[in-house]
Symmetry: C2
DNA sequence: ACCTGAACACCGTTCAAGT
DNA sequence: ACCTGAACACCGTTCAAGT
């Protein structure tokens, strides 16, 4: 039996990939570091050459998740010239990401974990859309863009988290993530 | 050595109390069913007479958490006659609860856990305040109270979850939970 | 009816040893 | 430098046995 030989950090990425697989298959509560090693075909001690432990591997997985989320948000933000459309598409993309990768999303924002610096870029994209929306009188112009952006982030994040639960208490299954997000923002700001 | 003898479900409550202790001391990620049993002075198999397993014990803990949260919300909602004040106090109480009992809060809303029916009562309290706020033109009257209430719930929940992380990315440590909640609602609705 | 004692498979982590 | 093999304490859960 030829066992794969890893070099130059190839095992590191293989472990991250395996972790994402398990996350998608079994969920973040069943996640096991030993199983990640098993899938990569290495001993349970091998991951410790690349990560200080389970938490650091999950942090690396989170970082890649933040990068993927950022692409989705930046992509939708750039996909329209109309400010209202940009705000709504971006909002939909946030909740959509949570629904498409629920356990990755929950891992990224798990408990009291340390926030990723990558998330800052995404916040900046949202902040810029908010600046434009305030200029267009779509959002109240009184509060600072900073405050307004984190208020909207909180709303989207709450929607994402609460709609991931089951049974979907008060958050209909029938609605798509996009409808949930846009419906909420439309209701709050009369867009 | 006299070992406590449990009867009539006394062990059940002792296990729930012990679980809340561990949650407060070590956090929900370090929570261990065996340690709960150890603290109660029983064998690790004993809890299985009262709960089907770890998840069911945590569900029972969550239920008591929902009851405590409900008291806090209903209490603040009744503490003022002014509609605006009621809405803001209730909002502050939600985020305050999360900060005062972070790991209990995270356990209640952990991952994809099943929502507690007890939470429905709390939602009803919020919905009623929203009805009054809409009548007083404090909140937009167009959307249904149901939609408006879950939008606000999502906002408060997002604030709670995100402000629990560390370092408090974009959510200042300096702000009290109450200021965080009222500041956000004030910004969004121009209250 | 309720709890113990002992076991099972599995977990995260450590460390001496191999190559 | 990177990985193995074996061990450690601990985990959730099961089950026959005690009272």
């Amino acid at each position: 039996m030829t066992r794969a030989t890893y070099h130059h950090g190839a095992l590191r990425q293989a472990l991250i990939d395996g972790a994402r697989e398990i996350l998608a298959e079994r969920g973040h509560e069943q996640f096991s570091l030993n199983e990640v090693a098993r899938r990569a075909g290495v001993s349970t001690a091998a991951p410790y050459r690349h990560f200080s432990g389970k938490d650091e591997l999950l942090a690396a997985v989170s970082d890649q998740g933040y990068a993927t989320l950022h692409e989705a948000l930046a992509g939708t933000a750039a996909s329209a010239t109309d400010v209202r459309e940009r705000l709504l598409r971006m909002s939909g993309a946030y909740v959509r990401f949570a629904h498409d990768h629920p356990d990755l999303f929950l891992t990224m924002f798990r408990g009291r974990a340390v926030a990723s610096p990558v998330g800052v870029e995404s916040f900046e994209v949202l902040r810029q859309v908010v600046v434009d929306a305030q200029a267009a009188a779509l959002l109240p112009a009184g509060p600072s863009p900073e405050l307004m952006a984190r208020s909207i982030w909180a709303t989207l994040h709450g929607l994402a988290v609460l709609s991931l639960r089951r049974p979907h208490e008060r958050f209909g299954l029938d609605e798509s993530p996009e409808d949930l997000a846009t419906g909420t923002l439309t209701a709050m700001f009369g867009l």
